[in-house]
Symmetry: C2
Subunit: 343 residues, 2 copies
């Protein structure tokens, strides 16, 4: 018999191995029948984590049918959409379908919501074979059911934004919230964002500015992203470099920043981020492709006195902050909107 | 032609792939001939990273000869001792053999030193086939040469301690230094250390106390470690649990701590550490077996507002602090000494 605290974490849904939390589980029970403290969502759309989608797409040579089959097989065998290679998941959008009488989440049937906990720990049951998805985009139209535990987070979708926009913004809402918190707590004046033209990157730039940072550098991978970021007006300086080439990153950023935020979704950005950061400064890693040993040993090997944070996807108030930055900032909208499909 | 800043990082020693830093390299040039800004060490002893040694030992079923052969093969093919599975290395001890005229490290020929940068980025050449090592301990007697770059760290070994003791303490000196810094910066009063009876664990407890923490919990894996930790008097409370069982960790720690320090060397401790930490608190991960996605997505999935730090092995003053904690604290000595072989 599980305790209420254990049930709140979803431990009762773990089939294999027993005793771990749902995120660490090999397999979850995705049965649509809910417990007293659970909520069932009628799924409408999945938003795969960027690192996960990239890995799947590359592994299958960009063959959309093969990618779709791979996702279906993962969900069928694991009871959740957790990429076995990257370990990451994504998030989903849907309609509240049933609410257990003891659920503390405050949700009501028929509300449209996005889950703000990772798909890597969300029991998921797909019923349509993903037949409306071409396997070529992170946003996946889907029918099925998902389960929220008592200790979970879902954001009610705002009325004033298209679902796809809200989903895209909420998907990365941890990044701007933590960036803002670090700027506020450390008094960082200069901030460098690697992958600054992406969703989490541009929101992090906007959040840093809103939190009081004065000197913003956006690093992007090519001239077309640089032009878009310049036009958006979110950075004081836009530089182009391969984020996985540490020496190129250091040269492009120039004077090291008080805070470096890593928003690129490819492996190998750890060392460039450390080199781009001033002594006594902070690096926040949001990329799920981050290697823990590469970060820890790289900083040590360079005798770099930097504080390195694992980008926790949860900071209180993160959903509202990200949506407000999108609403209030034309530059953010200009960068996010083209990345949203299916509006 | 490399710039001085690039050479200082050792980029000129990277053979494959070009352009990365030495820690990320597949293969380094371990040629004993030094450049103007390098230092050559005559190696006497390697100290393998605990996670690396455990992986090698388990992969070879505890067969010491096979472990020795595996280490030799890694060093021969990579030009450094970096475990390809864990990504980690360790450190080494030896005598300064040659100092380039432009080296900024301040070392002098014949000084006995320990390198405080990881073996995972140190060019290493083994000349004795490790024939004095039985493959059954992390401490490896060895002959050969290692190279220090301009941007590197080595500690001159103290006269008052046996080499093996100094090496064992310096190997983990990043942990107590960062623990002390977090306690000082955050004002954490309660601290929980997972893996508290090990070298980094007991030093972290002592550092937390010295930095002003008042309520220290040491979590260990069995009763024999618990007895040793109680006898050492380093923790206010000693609890026993499997650090990879998150619910057991949460139950054992009880009231969540302001700061949790993860010093266990096995995978899977991320979720227990998050559950053991109070809202608004901090987790520092020192284990090289830490999974970045497990930490990031686990905390998000539990809606845990915790700050998670990658345990940077370098904090200014770390070597002196760790050696002083060892000298001044009988409890630390009682736990470290039995782990030191070859004194």
């Amino acid at each position: 018999m599980r305790t209420a605290a254990e049930r709140a974490l979803g431990v009762h849904r773990v089939l294999d191995p027993p005793g771990v939390l749902p995120q660490a589980a090999q397999r979850l029970d995705a049965d649509p029948a809910i417990a007293l403290d659970e909520v069932r969502i009628a799924v409408e759309r999945l938003n795969l984590d960027a690192a996960s989608f990239r890995q799947l797409s590359e592994a299958h040579g960009g063959d959309g049918d093969a990618v779709r089959a791979a996702v279906l097989e993962i969900v069928r065998t694991r009871g959740k959409m957790q990429n076995p290679v990257t370990g990451s998941g994504g998030m989903l959008m849907g309609v509240v379908d049933a609410v257990g009488p003891e659920s503390p989440l405050g949700l009501v049937v028929d509300q449209r919501v996005a889950t703000l906990v990772s798909l890597s720990l969300t029991p998921l049951w797909i019923t349509d074979g993903l037949d409306r998805w071409d396997g070529r985009s992170e946003q996946v139209p889907a029918h099925g059911t998902a389960i929220l535990f008592a200790r979970s987070i879902a954001a009610v979708l705002p009325d004033d934004l298209p679902d796809a926009v809200a989903l895209a913004v909420l998907d990365v809402c941890g990044a701007p919230a933590l960036t803002a918190r670090v700027v506020e707590r450390t008094g960082a004046r200069s901030v460098a964002v690697l992958g600054a033209a992406g969703k989490s990157g541009c929101l992090s730039l906007a959040a840093a500015a809103a939190a009081g940072a004065q000197d913003l550098t956006g690093l992007v991978r090519n001239e077309s992203e640089a032009a878009a970021l310049r036009a958006a007006g979110l950075a004081d300086r836009v530089v182009v470099a391969d984020a996985t080439d540490p020496l190129a990153v250091a040269a492009a950023v120039g004077t090291p920043a008080d805070l470096t935020v890593v928003c690129v979704d490819v492996p190998g950005a750890e060392h460039g981020a450390v080199l781009a950061t001033a002594d006594g400064g902070t690096v926040v890693f949001f990329s799920m492709a981050t290697s823990f040993p590469a970060a820890a040993l790289g900083a040590e090997g360079m005798a770099a006195d930097v504080t390195m944070l694992v980008g926790n996807g949860y900071t209180p108030g993160h959903a509202a902050l990200a949506l407000d930055l999108y609403r209030s900032n034309p530059g953010v909208r200009a960068l996010v909107d083209p990345r949203v499909t299916g509006c």
